[in-house]
Symmetry: C2
Subunit: 281 residues, 2 copies
């Protein structure tokens, strides 16, 4: 038994969809969540900027007593070079592997669609992972630059005409390709699952990357007999967290009754494991 | 004559609309532009985060030999407390005053609309300024949270259905109020002027905040006989500036033929004029 917390981070609050799943499947686990709300979104930024931000996020989580880190962010998972995640002093789980495996298991016709931020799609991460699982899979990837701003600004209702119009544009190539399974490769996207489902129809399976990743992380902890805790949830954001409760409710699906504390990333030193003396990557 | 540069900054690249105007009206002026592309957008963030970012932006510009600073950003102009701008060692011009005066001069029926980011509208900056110019003005203000993401992601064509739909939603209250003049209170908005004009009709005057502010800054310099320079334009962004040329062309309206240099705001010390020993405001 290991009662240290699971550390979860995301560019914004989308990663709370992974926290929701962790807490549902293993309510005893302690979780420290960090959302970089002061710099969201990541997915439309250059890779170098994303890497710099991710190393700071990881360094912040490493100031806590944690047993595992989840990057609940498709953009970070797709962009952060393995040399950094392999240097971490605790196990690291990103969304790519667990989500790709769930999609490969779910498809009947071998045609899979991937929705992600521009940085995620540009990286080719999901396509590579799916092809390594089964080279016969036909994958259609589509960048969705407006989905995060739409979700962050509350354009989330199932009948929201703006979001429907944007989603139709993004989903068109996937429908043309005849996919029967779609990876929601960004933890914001499950919030507009209803809009997406209405366009693609009930027969297409939607794979929630936050959910699959949380499930896989718990499997890992179970295998090494490292589960346990007091069910304590701690939330940190990089701006002062006004309105956090409302946004958190959107992603968690229930009222939290507690705010987020402010993480000061301003002057944080990069963790020594990255071998970078406080400088830029 | 004073050949030092004019410093211009913005949360992203929207402020280039002010640089465009500066260069058109006074091609001899040297300009140093800084766009905080690694943290754009500001307008949907809490005030405290915006102030912190703005002080870092100002501190960066103050590392150059400049004679005047323009905040070519409606959000910063609306959010930064006067005690900081009054502490600056050089004159400071923001978009609020020049833009409000131009709108007050343009209206015939006394009904003015203001479009801005959520932070700008929440601050009440334009409404207060307009009322101080003429208390009989009737002002209708509307936050437009999706305009910056739409522009930054290229949804700028005059016939773009998504942008038209979003713009119709934002403009409806202004049309209901019968405004004959609309302040484009964010330097990104002139890029979708065509979409806005198509909805509100030709009889409504659109006031471009970047243009009015550039014009006013040059008036100030003229008055104090501080014009002059070699027409040198220097561009800095906070991420590595890939794709800067394409984006710059969108805002400047012409090809630049030069990239942007990277400004490292990571470890910048706040300028001593702010009286803050490197800490947070």
């Amino acid at each position: 038994m290991d009662t240290r917390a699971i550390g979860v981070f995301d560019s914004g609050l989308g990663g709370l969809t992974a926290v929701k799943q962790l807490h549902r499947l293993a309510p005893q686990e302690n979780v420290v969540f960090f959302g970089d709300t002061a710099r969201v979104p990541y997915g439309t930024r250059p890779a170098q900027t994303i890497v710099r931000y991710a190393l700071e996020d990881l360094s912040f989580l490493l100031t806590f007593d944690i047993k595992l880190i989840i990057a609940a962010c498709g953009t970070v998972s797709s962009t952060l070079p393995r040399r950094y995640t392999e240097a971490l002093p605790v196990p690291f789980v990103d969304v790519i592997g667990p989500t790709a495996r769930a999609a490969a298991a779910a498809t009947a016709n071998g045609k899979i669609g991937v929705l992600g931020t521009p940085a995620t799609i540009r990286s080719g991460s999901f396509v590579r992972e799916l092809e390594s699982i089964d080279s016969r899979l036909a994958v259609t990837a589509q960048a969705c630059p407006l989905f995060v701003p739409l979700v962050e600004n509350g354009y989330t209702a199932r009948d929201c005409e703006v979001t429907r119009l944007v989603a139709r544009e993004y989903l068109e190539p996937l429908m043309q390709a005849g996919v029967d399974t779609i990876i929601l490769g960004c933890t914001h996207y499950p919030i507009i699952k209803g809009v997406i489902a209405d366009i693609v129809g009930e027969k297409v399976t939607l794979i929630d990357s936050g959910r699959e990743t949380a499930r896989y992380a718990l499997e890992l902890l179970n295998k090494s007999d490292s589960c346990g805790g007091e069910g304590k949830l701690d939330f940190y954001t990089s701006d002062q967290g006004d309105g956090f409760e409302n946004s958190a409710e959107l992603f968690l699906g229930y009222s939290l009754g507690a705010g987020a504390r402010k993480a000061d990333l301003q002057r944080i030193d990069l963790h020594p494991c990255f071998g970078l003396a406080g400088g830029n990557p």
